[in-house]
Every structure is written in structure tokens, then in C-alpha cells.
């Protein structure tokens, strides 16, 4: 015990541990019937860290060329001790991460947590979602298997439909006119350098904003408190909230382990540019609602529509004046629910409809 105290004192004299302790003991998180949604941000952050750690481990063996990418992943899965586990975790955590980021975003939307003064937190968060999808899209190609190759072909093809600059964007993404080894190397660069750099920057800003401004309390709860129908309650961040966070992270790890054991992530067949595409090929699940939409509307209209919707979505806090005034905005709630329903229905059609 005396040794522990001496160690504490040693660090305290150098980095002012008492000040940090004081800060942590005063930090609280609002506590109400919707506060379960607060855990999603921390959970997403945790999964991002899992991705960074497992990604670095994969990087030790992965070779980003068309000639050896598939073989290097095969080597990771068969020869490297626990390589199969690291890859399975990386793949499942990636999907869980994107799923959680989506849920996190919609929970923030429905609770109007983006309202003044948290507009910038929302914008950085929305941009982080796009980066997460970029991670998914670029990472999917890296094992260089047939499905990934064809999905990347289809996915990058949509870029060509962007008015005026489509062809340029297509060439930029592919590193040429076709999906080749040049595309693989390029996607690898995006996946392990460009996107992590941007994400770290935005994530730092995002978390700093959350720390600086604290958690937003939903308008409905604020009203109840104002009307005296409820008491303002909060939970100490340390240790009560942090324990809950760790419990959530442990359960997430359990879920990933469960998935990795029941359904080990497959490798598939090596990409063969000469093989014809199988029918009903689909992109990753989080792109399916967009892919499906583009089957029903002219592609240019669809892509333009999604681009506009994306920009509007990012700038949403500036349109929702009612929430900014602290009033309940049922129209925006309805829009949020409609968007969620639309995405779920279109994704379901994409997977379940006959001929899809």
C-alpha cells in the first residue's frame, strides 16, 4: 500500500494527478429514461480502437498487390498464429462499428442532440460516418477475392455517373480505367493512411466537443424538468458510468467472439478479372439501400439525390430552428423515423425480394 502511495506521489508531482482526479470526480453524465443511447458513442470509439489494433496486426503480414494480396490474407488465416482470429475480429468489428455509428447517429437525431450549441459535434459526427463507410468500402477490396473485386467494380462505376467530373473521379478511385492491382494499392493507401489520419483528426475534435459541452438532454426531458414533472439527475462518470461503458465493451467483445466462432469470416475465391460476374451481386449491407434505390430511379438523379441528402443531413442543425429554440419538433422526428424505415425496407428488399 505504501508502495502504491509512493508511486501515486511520484506521478502526482510530475503530472498533477490530483487535478485529474478532481476533474473526474466532478464529471457527470445526465441520467434519464433515454440515457441508454449515450453509450453508443463510447462503444463506437471502442470498436474503432479494436479496428486500429487488429488492423495494425494484419498490416504486419498483408501485401497490397494484386499478385499477393489474396495469398497474404490466406497466409494470415492459415499460417500466422491466431491470424484467423485477428482477421475475423477485424471484419466483424468493422461491420458492428458501422452499424453502431448509424444507430448512434439516428439516436442523436431523434433526441435532437444536434441542436444549439452542439451543431459542430453533429457535423464532425456525420463526417465520421462517411469516413466509416469509406473505411468499409476500401477495406472490402483488400483481400482481393472475387466478390470484393466485382463489388468494387459496381461501386466505383457509380462514381462515373457524377455529372462533369464522374470520369475523373472514377479514374482517381481506380487508378486507371479498370479495377486492377493499381486500385488495390490505392484503396490500401486510403484504408491505412488517408482515412485513419482524417478520422483521428475528426474523432479528436468530436470527442473534445462532447467533453467540453457534456451530453445533451432531450427536449422532452428538459420540458418535464422545467415543469417540475421530473428531477434533473446525473450519474458520476467515474466510476459508475465508466463501469457501464466497460460492461458494454465487454459484451461487444463477447458478441464479436460469438460471431467469429459461429461464422468464421470466409476468404472466398481469388479475384479473376476474366470471370463473369455472378447474378444479383450486391455491395456491403450498408450500401444496399442506396444500391437498391438506384435500381428504381435514373442513376444520375439517384446519385444527385443522395449527394444533396447527404449535404442537407450534415447541415441539419441549421435547419431545425424549432429544436434550437428548445421546442419539440415532431416533423423532424417523423423525418428521422421515415429515413430509418426507408433504409431498412430498401435493404430488406435488396436481400429478400425475388430475383435480387
Amino acid at each position: 500500500m505504501a508502495r502504491r502511495r509512493r508511486l501515486y506521489k511520484w506521478f502526482d508531482e510530475r503530472v498533477d494527478l490530483q487535478n485529474l482526479e478532481k476533474f473526474l470526480s466532478h464529471k457527470t453524465v445526465p441520467y434519464h429514461r433515454h440515457s441508454i443511447w449515450y453509450y453508443l458513442g463510447g462503444m463506437s470509439l471502442y470498436l474503432f480502437v479494436v479496428q486500429v489494433v487488429t488492423g495494425i496486426l494484419l498490416l504486419l503480414y498483408y501485401k497490397p498487390t494484386a499478385e499477393s494480396a489474396y495469398e497474404s490474407v490466406q497466409y494470415i488465416m492459415t499460417e500466422v498464429p491466431f491470424g484467423w482470429l485477428v482477421r475475423s475480429i477485424h471484419s466483424y468489428a468493422a461491420n458492428l462499428f458501422i452499424g453502431l455509428v448509424f444507430i448512434h447517429m439516428f439516436s442523436v437525431f431523434i433526441m435532437k442532440a444536434y441542436r444549439k450549441p452542439r451543431e459542430l459535434t453533429w457535423i464532425t459526427g456525420a463526417l465520421l460516418l462517411f469516413l466509416a463507410m469509406g473505411f468499409g468500402f476500401s477495406g472490402y477490396l483488400l483481400p482481393w477475392n472475387q466478390l470484393a473485386y466485382l463489388a468494387t467494380n459496381v461501386g466505383t462505376n457509380f462514381a462515373a455517373m457524377i455529372p462533369f467530373v464522374g470520369q475523373w473521379v472514377l479514374k482517381f478511385l481506380r487508378g486507371g480505367n479498370e479495377v486492377t492491382g493499381a486500385t488495390l494499392t490505392r484503396f490500401f493507401g486510403f484504408h491505412v493512411a488517408v482515412l485513419p489520419g482524417l478520422t483521428t483528426l475528426l474523432l479528436t475534435i468530436h470527442v473534445l466537443f462532447v467533453q467540453r459541452q457534456g451530453m445533451s438532454v432531450p427536449v422532452s426531458i428538459e420540458k418535464e424538468i422545467a415543469q417540475g414533472k421530473a428531477k434533473r439527475m446525473a450519474i458520476p462518470f467515474f466510476p459508475n458510468y465508466l463501469y457501464r461503458d466497460i460492461l458494454g465493451w465487454t459484451l461487444a467483445l463477447g458478441l464479436i467472439v460469438l460471431l467469429a466462432s459461429l461464422f468464421p469470416w470466409e476468404l472466398g475465391d481469388k479475384a479473376d478479372m476474366l470471370k463473369p460476374a455472378p447474378p444479383h451481386i450486391k455491395p456491403e449491407w450498408y450500401f444496399v439501400f442506396m444500391y437498391q434505390t438506384l435500381k428504381y430511379v435514373p442513376k444520375v438523379v439517384g446519385i444527385f439525390g443522395f449527394a444533396v441528402a447527404g449535404i442537407v443531413w450534415v447541415l441539419l442543425p441549421f435547419f431545425d430552428r424549432k429544436s434550437n429554440r428548445g421546442e419539440i419538433n415532431r416533423l423532424y422526428t417523423a423525418i428521422g423515423v421515415a429515413v430509418v424505415v426507408y433504409m431498412i425496407v430498401l435493404t430488406a428488399i435488396g436481400y429478400l425480394a425475388p430475383g435480387e
Partner: protein, 430 residues
């Protein structure tokens, strides 16, 4: 400015014409419509002909004096028989005409020491040469029919009539022409004119013409080129054996060799055909419907039994390979197999390739020896792949145990949360 440009161009053109004319009167006159109606002869020759590009001039073949005639406005000065002018030879004289240089070893060495100089000798042994020299048949093919006259290109040039992919089309000009071939007979029979069409449908034709595979044979690879002749019965395997050496050797050592000779069968051709050779399949062997063996070997005979044995052995190997392939493929796609099984499976597949050659020994013992080795390898590969797939189960058990630990930790945390919450006043925090 425009006028000046036109005048300059005109002067330049005249200068060029004058230079050519001074160098060769032949070119001067044959390029001018004042003297000849068709100037393409010179343009074709100068544009690409191998002789022109190596510095061989008109006079080297045709004689005459190329320094005179054009400037004087009198072509007869150039085409002076006293100076060796001989115009072009009659068709029957063309082989000897070309051979003046092409059979001259010393002369040809100057261009390429490796160039053959036996074309005329070979030609004399060919059906074409025999018809021309012996039969006095001037319609028989001569050098120019295949190589052209003033636009002769090397055989390596894809525009050449004798480029490997163009050879069938060149032979076809005469050999697919029913009227032209009407009078020609081989061993008393009318020579067919469907060789080209059959070749197009053959595996050789598809490989050479569609896939551009230079190792696939075209007409001259089996029949010879300058010494073109149909292979006789005993030399069919020599022609096929140029590429299918193992098959030839196995056949020559087999009991069929002697039997074929006695029966007058044309070796390989008897089973595989000639111009219409399709890719051989395993259905050719055995005793089932469509198999060739039963055309000669009746049920109950040794040959019939041998055919059935060999087919069964090959089928067993194929079955073993298919099973191994399925297991390896599943192990690969599920990410538990990293290449060694695939490599070993390749060795087992090599046995199938090999036995398809060894089958030309028509010896069940030799065939079975190879198929057994292949089956053994395929079976080992399959076991390895299945064992790898079994590893998935072991991993699942390990992960299941890890999951139990995760759940225990989660439970402990939950208890801890309850404990700290019980000591916390939530309302006091706001």
C-alpha cells in the same frame, strides 16, 4: 504563301524522283504512269518486300542495266538482253529462278547464317514439285503462289501469307477450290477440298487461329512446307510425334503398332482423325457407347477387358480428384487452407495428365500404376483438407471458452455497477 509552299513541294518531289531515277531506271519508269499503267508493283516492292529492305534491287532478279534508260527516255537501254535482262520467268521456271540465290549457301549467309538453303531440294520431293517437274503440270504451286512476288514478307511478319496463322488460308486458295483440285488424285482417290473447313473446327485450328497459340500446328507443321506431302501410313505418328512425343513413343512400343501395320491403319489418325482432330476426351477409351476400343475388340476378348480396366482406372482417379478438389476448395474459401494442399493436388492432377498419355501403351498395368499413385495423393490431400476444416471446430470450442470468460467478466462488472450505484445519490449530481 500557299503558292510558295506548292512550288517547294513540287521541286522536292521532282528531286526525289530524280534521285530514284538515277539510282534505278527500273524504279524510275515503273513508278511513272508515262511508262506503265500499274505502278503498284514498285510501291509494293519498296514498301515492305524483304528483298528491297535487304538491298536487293530489281536487276538482281531480272537482270538488265538499272543505270540507263530512264534519264535517256529509252527503257530498252535498261531492259537490254545483252546485259542479262530476262524479264520474269515462266511459272515452271520460278523455283529455279528463286533458287539461284536461295540455294546459294555463300550468298544467303550474308543475310542470315541460319537461313536454310534446301528449299529447292525439298520442293523437288514435294507433291507440288513432282507435279511441276515430273508431271509438267504448270498449275502446281510454285514459290510465288505461297510467298507472293513483289511484296514478299518474312514468315515472322503477321502480314505474310506464310505467317503461321495465315498458312491455312494460303493453302486453302487451291486446296479448297473444287474446280482447281478436280483433276488431282491421291492413291487413286479424289483429293478432298474440305480440309480447311475441318481444320477450322479442330482443336489445332481453334488454338492456332482463335487463340493465336504458336505451338499449335498449321498445315505445314504436319505436311512440311517446301517438301509438302501427305504423311504416309507409317509416318503419321512421326508427324504427330513432333509435338505429342510421349504418345508417339508409347504407341510405337504398344501391341497396336504391329497390328496397325498389318491392318494398314494410319496410326494416330485411325482414332483421332486428321484435319478434324477434336480435343481428345476420356470417352474415347473404354467399352461404353461411343468408345473407340469396342470398334475392334469384342466383349470377352482380352482387348475388351483391357479397355474396360483402363477406363475404370482413369474414372477412379477423376473421382478421387473431384472429391479432393471439393474439400480443398471449401477449406480455401473458409480460410483454413493456405496452399500446400492445392500444391499437392496439382501433383495428383499431373497424374491424370500423364495417364492420358500412358494410355497409348494400351497396357492396363502401366495405366493402373499411375492412377493408383494419383488416387493415393488425392486421398491424402483430401484428408489434409478435411482435417483443416475440422480445425474450425477446435477454434469454435476455444472461442466458446473465451466467451464464457467474457460473460463472467461482464457479470462481475454488472455486480460492481450495482455496488457503486447503491452508494451513489443520482439526484445530488445534477
Amino acid at each position: 504563301m500557299k503558292k510558295l509552299l506548292l512550288i517547294s513541294t513540287g521541286i522536292l518531289a521532282l528531286c526525289v524522283a530524280d534521285i530514284d531515277a538515277r539510282e534505278s531506271s527500273c524504279i524510275g519508269c515503273h513508278r511513272s504512269t508515262d511508262w506503265v499503267s500499274d505502278t503498284s508493283l514498285v510501291s509494293t516492292f519498296l514498301a515492305a518486300d524483304i528483298h528491297a529492305s535487304r538491298g536487293i534491287g530489281c536487276e538482281d532478279c531480272h537482270g538488265g542495266d538499272p543505270t540507263k534508260g530512264f534519264a535517256e527516255g529509252d527503257p530498252d537501254l535498261a531492259m537490254d538482253p545483252a546485259k542479262g535482262f530476262a524479264s520474269h520467268p515462266e511459272r515452271a521456271g520460278i523455283p529455279n529462278f528463286c533458287a539461284r540465290c536461295h540455294s546459294d549457301i555463300e550468298f544467303m549467309k550474308r543475310f542470315d547464317p541460319k537461313l536454310p538453303t534446301d528449299q529447292l531440294s525439298l520442293y523437288k520431293t514435294s507433291v507440288h514439285g513432282k507435279l511441276l517437274f515430273g508431271g509438267k503440270d504448270a498449275r502446281a504451286a510454285v514459290c510465288t503462289d505461297c510467298h507472293g512476288t513483289h511484296g514478299i514478307l518474312p514468315a515472322s511478319d503477321s502480314r505474310s501469307r506464310v505467317y503461321f496463322q495465315n498458312v491455312p488460308g494460303t493453302c486453302k486458295v487451291c486446296h479448297s477450290n473444287q474446280a482447281y483440285m478436280a483433276g488431282y488424285r491421291y492413291k487413286g482417290n479424289q483429293i478432298p477440298t474440305d480440309q480447311y473447313d475441318e481444320y477450322l473446327r479442330s482443336i489445332h485450328g481453334q488454338m492456332a487461329l482463335q487463340n493465336g497459340d504458336q505451338s499449335a500446328p498449321v498445315c505445314n507443321d504436319c505436311h512440311g512446307n517446301h517438301g509438302a506431302t501427305p504423311p504416309n501410313l507409317a509416318s503419321v505418328s512421326a508427324a504427330c510425334g513432333e509435338c505429342h512425343a510421349s504418345n508417339r513413343d508409347y504407341f510405337n512400343g504398344s501391341p497396336h503398332k504391329k497390328a496397325w501395320e498389318e491392318l494398314g491403319y494410319p496410326e494416330c489418325e485411325q482414332c483421332h482423325g486428321n484435319h478434324l482432330i477434336v480435343a481428345a476426351t476420356d470417352t474415347l477409351i473404354g467399352v461404353a457407347q461411343g468408345a473407340l476400343c469396342v470398334q475392334c475388340h469384342d466383349p470377352g476378348t482380352g482387348g475388351y477387358q483391357a479397355a474396360a480396366q483402363m477406363k475404370a482406372a482413369i474414372d477412379s482417379l477423376k473421382d478421387a480428384l473431384a472429391l479432393a478438389e471439393d474439400a480443398v476448395h471449401e477449406a480455401e474459401t473458409r480460410g483454413v487452407e493456405g496452399g500446400q494442399a492445392r500444391f499437392d493436388l496439382g501433383a495428383a492432377k499431373d497424374k491424370l495428365t500423364r495417364v492420358r498419355s500412358v494410355v497409348h501403351t494400351f497396357d492396363p498395368a502401366q495405366v493402373t500404376e499411375i492412377t493408383s499413385a494419383g488416387i493415393q495423393t488425392a486421398s491424402t490431400v483430401r484428408q489434409t483438407a478435411l482435417a483443416s476444416l475440422g480445425d474450425i471446430k477446435i477454434r469454435q470450442i476455444g472461442l466458446g471458452m473465451a466467451l464464457v470468460i467474457v460473460i463472467l467478466v461482464a457479470f462481475a462488472l454488472w455486480r460492481k455497477i450495482k455496488q457503486v450505484d447503491s452508494k451513489t445519490d443520482f439526484t445530488a449530481q445534477g
